[in-house]
């Protein structure tokens, strides 16, 4: 097969690597292509609008690590990221990229439905599967006939290939038989703008022409196309993402009249006008200026207004398009990506990227405009950081260079150099850049990628705010966030069916139920990538939550609801896509998914969310030593933690109660121990009882509390031993008889009786044992104490 050429390339290092502080980083970033005063402008605007949520990057990491290096080191990985890398960035592309710079390829195409990167040569089509991670090996290939290639799209079951040969012709090739069939249109009247495969039950292919849409069914057996429906419409250009299934058709003189179609089979009755930029001039809106993004299962359309340098954001509902707000831009060219439900707005001229988390109704950026970074794999991060220059030398192009194409949702293809990058969020950098711990935690808990990092970071943040002795209310809020998300996941895990039912009720819309016969086979692919399966789960739940939020807040049906379960076919192939697909499935035919994810759910919850006991082990245990100087603060924090735990309906680990009592006793607050035990703030357990008895050496009422707790918990043997220790041997004996405790040896009771020097009591104890323990008379104890008794008398 084909070999990837590994010829050394000339090195053009133009990477922006800089050390803090921020202004310099930005200055460097702008040195490449200088937009005059763009940087000053952007920071000024941000400052003025008060939108900067995350600040002082250079300060925060230091405070994280100072002082408590022993305990607070987030992890080796994080250390590398925060401590030693001097570069500032909140997003990065990972080195090495996928190389697709094979000689004599005729262009590069991306099939976003299958996540294929496609490079046709004269007689073959080479393609790489991009999910779940960028592959390292050589591409797959399919033979094709010679001829021009305008675009290539594989069918969703990957049994056929559609190749657009010209503006009027598309060739369909059955991959098994090699048969081809051509679909042609008349040259004079209309032009083919594009085509794509769809998972709609009645149609398989949609052609977008200047005169409207053609919806066709493809029959693989006969390798024939059958026209099912067509919609007449004037189209100037169109946009489509498989992720959203949304087709946006632009028409009108200025191309400002948008019509949205979803599924091809149903018209989302939407007409929207895009704001005009100037009074007299009539600029024509280009396809480049409009972007569809799908985050949190919602579909947004971002439209760049070149004149006012703003990005207008619209949200697509089924029955309406609502303008949501405007985002500032600092570049005449922008690109938009969606990574893990974060919208990345690339300011191409300024070579910086701004991140937005549109979860609530806040359109403030979550980061300052910072450049993108090239980063090595985390495993050899440390070495990589030292030689990051060499790193980027491996990359022959320029970040945000001319050849950069942004592929939906999170890929970048450098066409000039034949490289494919995947965009990543630098969660730790984002987390480290803000001091508002609760909101960072909320942000982190919403993330689906890099779950172990989310967990590590969340724990580290909670630890840090405690060690920094931030106000208790703030720490409490932070812990609330973590526990809330845990309990939400637990709840979702236990009663998913309930969720399904409610969402079904919400969705009584006119979408035809879809049962795709291939869905189960498509699902069969999934176990191969169990990781992504895990991700599906979480996406599923949050998407649900989102939607319930939405449905209450807006009357409009969310457009994604309409999507039904039609797209199971491709499920095995698209990890991130599935995330958006999930809510639809929940609403509709969710059988295959339910079976696929329910098993994984338990482990998923365990992996992702931070449980109370993990909080205990990774936060409280670790900070305890450091906080011994100020136990009162830590006790208050624990109280707030317990409050969060109980509010979320969870259970706290018994060892936390043990720790609390120890802390209280440490500062001589025995009365409060008593109060907390009596009002059950400290929930009874054997561990706690033992600790109370231990602490009771200094404070006898506390010991009593412990002993009582043993009795209340029905820990008979321990209770009897405790009574014996305190010298209440007759009481112990009575109790032992009542609860048939036979494990405590008689000698202990007898010894206590001897110690009180009371012949009467000793005789009583002796006679008790002779009566109730049949073999007692034969033991040496009997003879011994008998003798002692006779001497006493």
């Amino acid at each position: 097969m084909l070999q990837l050429p590994r010829a050394p390339r000339p090195i053009h290092l133009r990477l922006m690597v800089c050390t803090p502080p921020t202004p310099r980083a930005l200055r460097l970033a702008f040195q490449q292509t200088p937009p005059p005063n763009a940087l000053a402008e952007c920071s000024r605007v941000l400052k003025k609008s008060g939108q900067m949520k995350l600040l002082h990057r250079e300060k925060e990491p230091a405070s994280v690590f100072e002082g408590n290096r022993k305990n607070v080191l987030l992890s080796g990985k994080m250390q590398g990221g925060l401590g030693s890398v001097g570069t500032l960035s909140h997003a990065y592309v990972q080195h090495p990229p996928l190389r697709c710079d094979i000689p004599d390829i005729r262009g590069i195409f991306y099939d976003d439905a299958n996540k294929f990167l496609i490079a046709p040569t004269a007689d073959r089509i080479l393609y790489w599967k991009i999910t779940p991670s960028t592959p390292a090996g050589p591409p797959n290939s399919d033979p094709i006939n010679d001829g021009p290639v305008l675009s290539v799209r594989y069918s969703l079951d990957q049994k056929a290939i559609g190749i657009q040969r010209s503006n009027h012709e598309v060739e369909f090739r059955n991959r098994e038989t090699g048969e081809t069939c051509n679909k042609k249109w008349r040259v004079d009247s209309e032009t083919l703008l594009g085509f794509f495969w769809t998972d709609c039950p009645t149609y398989d292919v949609i052609f977008v022409k200047t005169s409207g849409l053609d919806l066709l069914a493809y029959e693989p057996q006969s390798n024939a196309l059958r026209l099912v429906d067509s919609k007449k419409f004037n189209v100037s250009w169109y946009l489509y993402t498989h992720e959203s299934r949304l087709i946006v058709l632009a028409s009108g003189m200025q191309c400002t009249l948008f019509t949205g179609y979803q599924w091809g089979c149903q018209i989302a009755k939407v007409e929207m006008t895009v704001s005009k930029s100037e009074a007299n001039s009539k600029p024509v809106l280009a396809a480049d200026d409009v972007h569809i993004v799908t985050v949190y299962g919602r579909i947004y359309c971002l439209q760049l207004d070149r004149v006012s340098m703003t990005l207008n954001m619209y949200r697509f509902y089924r029955d309406a398009v609502v303008h949501q707000g405007t985002l500032p831009t600092y570049s005449s060219r922008i690109a938009v990506s969606a990574v893990d439900n974060i919208i990345m707005v690339h300011q191409i001229d300024a070579k910086v990227v701004i991140l937005y988390d549109i979860f609530m109704d806040s359109y403030a950026p979550i980061s300052a405009p910072l450049p993108l970074l090239v980063r090595r794999l985390p495993s050899n991060n440390r070495q990589a950081t030292q030689s990051s220059d060499n790193q980027s030398s491996a990359y022959g192009g320029t970040l945000y260079g001319e050849g950069w194409n942004f592929l939906n949702p999170d890929l970048v293809c450098d066409v000039e150099n034949g490289l494919l990058w995947k965009l990543h969020l630098d969660l730790e950098a984002i987390a480290a850049s803000t001091s508002d711990a609760p909101s960072v935690l909320e942000f982190l808990q919403r993330r689906k990628s890099d779950l172990s990092m989310v967990k590590t970071l969340s724990l580290a943040i909670v630890r840090t705010v405690i060690l920094e002795r931030r106000p208790i209310t703030m720490v409490a809020k932070a812990m609330d966030v973590v526990l809330d998300s845990y309990s939400r996941l637990m709840k979702m895990g236990s009663d998913l069916p309930g969720v399904r039912r409610t969402s079904e009720q919400n969705l009584q819309s006119g979408v035809q139920p879809v049962v795709n016969p291939d869905s189960s086979s498509g699902d069969g692919n999934r176990p191969v990538q169990s990781n992504s399966g895990v991700e599906h789960g979480i996406a599923n739940h949050t998407a649900n939550v989102d939607r319930t939020l939405l449905n209450t807040s807006s009357d409009s049906d969310d457009i994604t609801n309409a999507s039904g379960g039609a797209n199971q076919e491709m499920s095995g192939l698209q990890a991130s896509d599935v995330a958006e697909r999930k809510p639809l499935v929940v609403g509709k035919d969710s059988r295959p998914l339910a079976s696929g994810t329910s098993m994984q759910h338990g482990t998923h919850v365990a992996n992702v969310a931070v449980s109370p006991s993990e909080m205990f082990e990774s936060v409280f245990v670790l900070v305890e030593d450091e906080m011994m100087g100020d136990p009162a603060y830590l006790v208050s924090i624990i109280m707030e933690f317990l409050r969060s735990v109980s509010k979320a309906g969870l259970k706290a680990p018994p060892n936390l109660y043990v720790m609390t009592t120890t802390l209280l006793a440490h500062s001589n607050r025995y009365p409060e121990i008593m109060l907390f035990v009596s009002n059950k703030i400290l929930e009874p357990s054997k561990e706690l009882a033992m600790q109370l008895m231990e602490l009771g050496r200094q404070n006898s009422p506390t010991r009593k509390l412990g002993v009582d707790m043993l009795r209340e918990r029905g820990l008979h043997q321990d209770y009897v031993s405790a009574l014996l220790q305190d010298g209440y041997y007759l009481e112990a004996l009575r109790y032992a008889r009542k609860y048939k405790v036979i494990t405590v040896p008689p000698a202990l009771f007898l010894e206590e009786a001897v110690a009180t020097n009371s012949a009467k009591n000793l005789a009583a104890v002796l006679s008790f044992f002779t009566e109730f323990v049949p073999t007692f008379k034969t033991t040496s104890d009997y003879a011994r104490y008998r003798h002692i008794l006779s001497e006493m008398i």
């Binding site: 109980s646 109060l675 703030i681 929930e683 009422p701 009575r734 009542k738």
Partner: protein, 489 residues
């Protein structure tokens, strides 16, 4: 003894280290109630007491004389501080209505003394500071008189009788709350504790007349709680408003020469004076002392002395509906007196208001009314001396008991008191268990049970015929309401 009949009771405080020279006996007397009692009579009462104290010491050097029962009077003794004695003299009568329990009367003496100490510090310290004793006498006069005004019925003192045998003075009544609410309150306590920044503030939270939370040790909690229930809770504040004119008449308080500024102990003038306490618009309960004092010399918040805390504390009282919050700030960390208090108050209003409102709502919602702790068929009193906590049947339910039951119970409690002090003397580190069941004249069961230090007293009027019934009833009660603390092993 020549006490005029109908005079009811006398209460005196005297110091045996004073007035030991003949002719200076009067110097011993620090306080005498009633104040209009002739000096000679006062001297004779104190002389008798002193004689008996000295006499009984010959036999029992370690334990104080507790009571003298004569034909017509009972003298109840309490050595409040070394050589400072408080004696309550009550008249005996054929009328069985006036049956007392010595322990209950001693409880009054203990209570008034510990409250006094909380506000003014130990009497001995006052005497040492000012040997003429003017200061101590002045404070005692106003304070004890104000205290006794609660007991006054007409001209007489109405002291607790056998009818109060299901009450325990010197204990705190707690509100039982769910864990969730407890955590909510704890979070409020945290906010309250941080009112002063770095220095921890202590606090007590009451709901109605019941304690909800405390950060203080039991002794101090008890004193503050007692004070709050006497004067500060909404109930206490409103009861004054109702019987205002009556009390005015009943308490003839002599105008006191204000000596606070002269010796530098700036402290609250008369913390138990009902008329001066009111809840301000801002929710803080304050005392109105502005009349003739120079502002600034007297901080508007009382300074308290605590046994277990080293520092003296400022008390700040905030009230929201049924919630009363007693916030204590160490006096040493409030540098500029009033200003510091204002700061604390502002902090409380700013940061804790929301918590207070939520806590109040939750508590009100969960509050079962005054009969919340009634257990059908039982009239009971539960005491935990370690925690100084008690719980009892609501007073309204106790009054339904017949006199016979109450008298038996009173008698029984007296026995238990004796037994306890005896056991305490012989082996102080081990709790001794007792159980007494009495079949009273009216066929009711009167039961007392002491287990591992905790005490349970109850009267069952509609009990069965057998002892077995009585003990089953106790068992049931213990398992359901005391977590099995009194269950027979």
């Amino acid at each position: 003894m020549g006490l005029s009949s109908g005079d009811g009771a006398q209460l005196c405080v005297f110091d045996l280290r004073r007035g030991q020279q003949e002719g200076q006996e009067l110097d011993k007397i620090l306080f005498f109630h009633p104040a209009d009692c002739p000096i000679l009579l006062q001297l004779s009462v104190i002389g008798l007491c002193e004689g008996i104290i000295t006499f009984s010491r010959i036999f029992s050097p370690d334990d104080d004389c507790e009571v003298i029962e004569s034909e017509n009077h009972s003298h109840v003794f309490y050595q409040a501080e070394a050589d400072i004695w408080m004696v309550l003299v009550v008249e005996k009568n054929k009328d069985s209505e006036l049956t007392w329990r010595c322990g209950a009367l001693q409880g009054i003496l203990k209570e008034v003394h510990s409250l006094f100490t909380m506000f003014y510090g130990p009497i001995r310290t006052l005497l040492d500071r000012q040997p003429s004793a003017e200061l101590a006498r002045g404070h005692l006069r106003t304070f004890v008189t104000d205290y006794l005004s609660d007991f006054s019925a007409g001209k007489k003192l109405q002291l607790p009788t056998f009818r109060d045998c299901l009450k325990e003075r010197g204990t705190v009544q707690m509100l039982t709350i769910s864990r969730e609410v407890a955590l909510e309150i704890q979070s409020l306590t945290t906010v309250l504790g941080s009112c002063l920044g770095n220095v921890m503030c202590q606090s007590l939270v009451l709901f109605g007349d019941l304690l909800v939370s405390t950060t203080l040790p039991p002794d101090d909690t008890l004193n503050l709680y007692t004070y709050a229930v006497l004067r500060l809770t909404p109930h206490a504040l409103s009861s004054y408003a109702n019987s205002w004119s009556y009390l005015r008449k009943g308490t003839s308080v002599h105008s006191v020469p204000t000596s606070s500024s002269s010796n530098g102990t700036a402290s609250v003038e008369r913390p138990l004076q009902r008329e001066k306490l009111y809840k301000g618009k801002d929710g803080f309960v304050t005392a109105d002392f502005a009349t003739s004092e120079i502002r600034g010399a007297v901080p508007s918040a009382p300074i308290l002395w605590f046994r277990q805390a080293e520092d003296r504390m400022h008390l700040c009282v905030y009230q929201h509906k049924n919630i009363t919050i007693l916030l204590l700030t160490p006096a040493s960390s409030l540098i500029n007196g009033d200003e510091g208090i204002t700061h604390v108050k502002r902090h409380l209003l700013e940061h804790a208001s929301q918590n207070i409102v939520t806590v109040e709502q939750k508590l009100s919602r969960g509050w079962g009314g005054e009969n919340a702790y009634h257990v059908g068929g039982y009239r009971y009193l539960l005491v935990d001396p370690d925690r100084k906590v008690s719980r009892a049947s609501p007073p309204g339910k106790v009054t339904t008991l017949s006199k016979d039951s109450l008298l038996s119970l009173n008698r029984q409690r007296e026995e238990i008191d004796l037994e306890k002090s005896r056991a305490g003397r012989s082996d102080s580190c081990h709790d001794k268990d007792f159980e007494i069941c009495i079949r009273a004249k009216n066929n009711s069961w009167v039961i007392a049970k002491v287990t591992r230090g905790r005490e349970l007293y109850m009267a069952l009027e509609k009990g069965g015929e057998t002892l077995l019934y009585a003990s089953t009833a106790v068992e049931k009660f213990s398992n359901r309401y005391c977590e099995g603390a009194f269950s027979t092993d």
